[in-house]
């Protein structure tokens, strides 16, 4: 590492301290040079890296276990089915759901939201009804509802955020009324890092009989999610944001809601019997899993969740908070740098803009220093509009990141400023 600072500076949280160097050894991708410099991977809010155990699971599946599931009577099919369904059980425990039938495999958070929109939304939301979202939603929790509004004549209500990027809870409480049929809200903002008071949001909606969908894409890698404690009605997540493979995600839904909802896609596996006159549908969760599912990635997602739980989400949270605190202090105090998103409750996401340099130019120069950050609107154009910026640079930290890496980022930002001052 190219810094005198040590990770001791990052210590001081509660619980056990992570042995970050040992954990980094589990992630082969981190040990490479980019443009001749050691890779500093700070784009974890976009996607997280995969531990060797996840990679091994994928290889093992295709080398030793691959078969179609729920169909064959042969050995491999039974083995693949067993591993696939065992993972559903792991996810039930990870989210603390009441029943494995409440766990539906989807491609990711986006598909999970679209499933709820197409199935629940089309059946239960009609003309004049209202859906409440927030101003910090990812496009994937805006656009599906806009499509539903276009189709059904329902109305989208947006809860504003303040200058720190926090939800205006009073405005939220004023927006929920007898016309509200669904609240769909992000747990942790991908572009601001804000952690929403989701339990309070849910309780308020429930007191008015309104179900709540929680977009948990950014939550699962930072904090312990307990869907029963939150009492959310739907929870959606993506495997690749929590050290698992791309192309796999989870929709959790309360049993009585999932049972009341029509199928989302039709095909094999989701049926009980088919004749040309009448088709009856399979029970939960298979009613919502048409076609051959993404078996390999489901199983590898299970491995990723095992890994995260072994590391410990509480220790992960402590380490990330220390990284965030250090980075906020270091980068926030640089002249000409403005932080976007300074909520009191924040996950390890640091969005910033430079006075005189566009985020893309920041990203290109940092990349030459081996530092991978995300630049752009982060699929949250309304957030950019709210803060009056075209784009931000975003560094997002995972448990395998270090204080020394933040020093590299800080020096990189200084270099950007030098290039543009010349």
């Amino acid at each position: 590492m190219r810094s005198a600072s040590t990770d001791k500076e990052a210590q001081g949280g509660t619980g056990h301290t992570l042995d970050v160097e040992a954990l980094r050894a589990d992630f082969p991708i981190l040990h490479q040079r980019v443009h001749g410099k050691p890779l500093v991977y700070f784009d974890n809010a976009a996607t997280t890296q995969k531990p060797q155990a996840v990679i091994d699971t994928l290889v093992k599946y295709y080398r030793e276990q691959n078969a179609n599931i729920h169909r064959g009577v042969h050995y491999l099919s039974e083995l693949a089915t067993y591993e696939y369904e065992k993972t559903r059980g792991k996810i039930k425990l990870f989210l603390n759901a009441a029943d494995t039938r409440e766990i539906i495999f989807v491609r990711g958070t986006t598909e999970g939201i679209n499933l709820v929109k197409d199935s629940f939304g089309r059946k239960f939301i009609g003309a004049g009804d209202e859906i409440v979202i927030s101003a910090m939603e990812h496009h994937s929790n805006i656009v599906p509802w806009q499509l539903l509004c276009e189709e059904k004549g329902c109305i989208l209500r947006v809860v504003p955020i303040n200058d720190r990027g926090e939800l205006d809870v009073e405005a939220y409480e004023a927006l929920v009324n007898e016309k509200t049929k669904l609240v769909s809200m992000v747990y942790i903002s991908n572009s601001l890092g804000t952690i929403n008071p989701i339990k309070r949001i849910i309780a308020f909606a429930h007191a008015r009989g309104v179900p709540v969908l929680v977009d948990g894409a950014q939550a699962t890698s930072h904090l312990t999610v307990d869907v029963r404690n939150l009492d959310c009605d739907f929870f959606v997540m993506s495997g690749h944001k929590v050290f698992g493979p791309t192309g796999i995600g989870v929709l959790y839904g309360k049993m009585h809601l999932l049972e009341s909802m029509p199928p989302y896609q039709a095909g094999g596996d989701m049926i009980r019997s088919v004749t040309f006159e009448k088709t009856t549908f399979n029970e939960l969760p298979y009613k919502f899993e048409a076609g051959t599912p993404n078996v390999a990635d489901v199983i590898a997602l299970g491995t990723a969740l095992d890994y995260v739980q072994k590391v410990g989400l509480s220790a992960i949270g402590d380490h990330e908070n220390n990284l965030l605190r250090y980075a906020t202090k270091k980068i926030g105090s640089l002249e000409g740098v403005r932080l976007i998103g300074t909520a009191a409750e924040k996950a390890s996401v640091l969005s910033f803009v430079l006075d005189t340099v566009h985020a893309h130019d920041v990203g290109t120069i940092l990349d030459q220093e081996g530092v991978a950050i995300r630049t752009g609107h982060h699929c949250t154009q309304p957030v950019m509009a709210r803060f009056g910026v075209p784009a931000t640079a975003r560094a997002s930290f995972a448990f395998y990141n270090t204080i020394a890496e933040i020093d590299v980022l800080t020096e990189g930002i200084k270099k950007v400023q030098e290039v543009f001052q010349a």
Partner: protein, 154 residues
């Protein structure tokens, strides 16, 4: 020279800081908008045509240093030239930023003039669209029949 310095040359930084012809045009003959939905860069190119000749050209908008400098340099390159020449220059410029200085023949380098400063972009594939955004808008404007707004998403 490092590739960062190659990309952010003095001339480019200067055009970024002090863009030329960066103004609204009250009565343009043609307008086109260049928009990159991936990054949000957004420019409007205004043209005042005199027959086949670009009598005046200006632009407005927001984007990174590469896209803004490229838009600025484009206006200085195409002002007063004929439509066909501007299109020809676009093709040569496109070759330059996608394939680099080595790909360009000597005559083209001479013709490109100061636009050659953007050759470094070819080393940064993600930034090629930044450099060509305003040019695509110009191309859209030249191709349009009237002053209707043309949107190009390149």
């Amino acid at each position: 020279m490092s590739s960062v310095n190659e990309l952010y040359q003095q001339l480019i930084l200067d055009h970024n800081k002090n863009p030329r012809n960066c103004r609204h045009m009250d009565h343009p003959t043609k307008i086109a908008e260049g928009y990159n939905p991936l990054c949000g860069d957004h420019f409007t190119v205004f043209l005042e045509m005199d027959g086949d000749t670009i009598k005046d050209v200006s632009f407005q908008g927001a984007g990174c240093a590469i896209s803004k400098a490229s838009a600025s340099m484009m206006t200085t390159a195409v002002k007063g030239v004929k439509k066909a020449e501007a299109e020809d220059l676009f093709q040569k410029f496109h070759t330059l930023v996608t394939r680099g200085m080595k790909s360009a023949v000597e005559d083209d380098i001479e013709e490109l003039g100061c636009l050659g400063a953007l050759a470094g972009v070819s080393e940064f594939p993600a930034r090629i669209k930044c450099a060509s955004l305003a040019w695509h808008a110009l191309h859209g404007a030249l191709a349009s029949e009237d002053s209707k707004v043309v949107t190009t998403e390149e």
